[in-house]
Subunit: 183 residues, 2 copies
DNA sequence: CTGCCCATGTAAATGGTTACATGATTGA
DNA sequence: TCAATCATGTAACCATTTACATGGGCAG
């Protein structure tokens, strides 16, 4: 479960106490292109990590809003994070539903297949637009050292790259399909 | 759950009755680069699909080996498969543990980080070698129509491409890291 | 006055992994 | 004689998604 470590990483990087709600937002704006999580998952993982002693928790009473719980990393948490980060990098096991569909696509008629691909291409383009926006790119500016900045840049760019390749690939498949099986 | 449809696809493509054990092998040799499943998952999914009426099942008694259950697709199964295959292609949600590690890699010392990347590069190379082997590439030869062959080729090549890009990327990161943060 | 933001959670279901069990056959 | 192959499964666990619940504040 690397959600645990992603959360530890965000909390540690922040430094100041942070609520689950704000962690989710930080999560979505930094790691959304290679990891994602729902509130349900984040809240329950945070309580478990608190029980395990990886996080300190404090309840902040608020009047015009619900109370909130803010978390900070403990030294045990920092140790566990450091240990995890230094583990060997494993190949991601792949799980691509779309490729299963394409493998079996002989069961779909031509017109429909072409439309499926076209719509897919639009979706990839939309995602790419978000990724290439200044807002996302400016995350990297908040790095505190040149080295940290390097790591952030590399991860973000990998996300962008992945979608760029996806787009090229889908466009090429569409073109080839049309050339070979008419339109 | 697209394991269900991957299995239906394999059983339907085969035509003849096939056991869970053999499905696993077919699975590993055709879709392993974009989907995977354990025996546990395959056996339990097959019984459920049988209950749902998507598969016919027959027990084959054998002497010198354990009995086996062989499955064939029903027309209800074929209908459900055709319906699923024609669904819109969705963007894969990404889940890349390695990128989480790299984002937080400022907590790792240089020597260790370089070694992690080097080992990662070796793993990617090994996987690529398997993918580019003749054995894998020859799967495509078993397609029965030109169009089916096109779909199989496209999916397989996407797998190969993904790992080729991964390799290039990792090598580039390593080179850049060395240039900027010494060795 | 509608809908989104703040903030946290429970419950249930689904999906997926890991460990364990069985036991004959076959090839190196 | 050792390991691999054949063949299927149960049990327990971990991870993830979806649906539901609460209720004030604030902007258009």
């Amino acid at each position: 479960m690397s959600l645990k470590y992603a959360l530890l990483g965000i909390i540690d990087t922040r430094g100041r106490p942070i609520s689950g709600y704000d962690i989710k937002k930080a999560f979505d704006s930094t790691m959304q292109f290679y990891w994602n999580a729902t509130y349900t998952q984040i809240y329950s993982t945070l309580s478990r990590m608190h029980e395990e002693g990886l996080l300190n928790m404090e309840v902040i009473s608020q009047e015009s809003h619900p109370n909130k719980k803010v978390y900070q990393i403990t030294s045990a948490g920092r140790d566990e994070l450091a240990e995890w980060v230094a583990k060997p990098l494993e190949l991601q096991r792949i799980r691509n539903e779309m490729l299963v569909q394409i493998t079996l696509a002989d069961r779909v008629d031509s017109e429909r297949f072409v439309r499926m691909l076209e719509e897919y291409i639009l979706k990839v383009r939309e995602t790419l637009a978000v990724l290439q926006s200044n807002e996302v790119q400016s995350i990297v500016e908040r790095a505190r050292t040149e080295r940290e900045r390097f790591f952030w840049e590399v991860s973000l760019n990998k996300g962008v790259m992945t979608y760029e390749r996806e787009l090229e690939w889908a466009e090429r498949v569409l073109k080839t399909y049309r050339a070979r099986f008419g339109d």
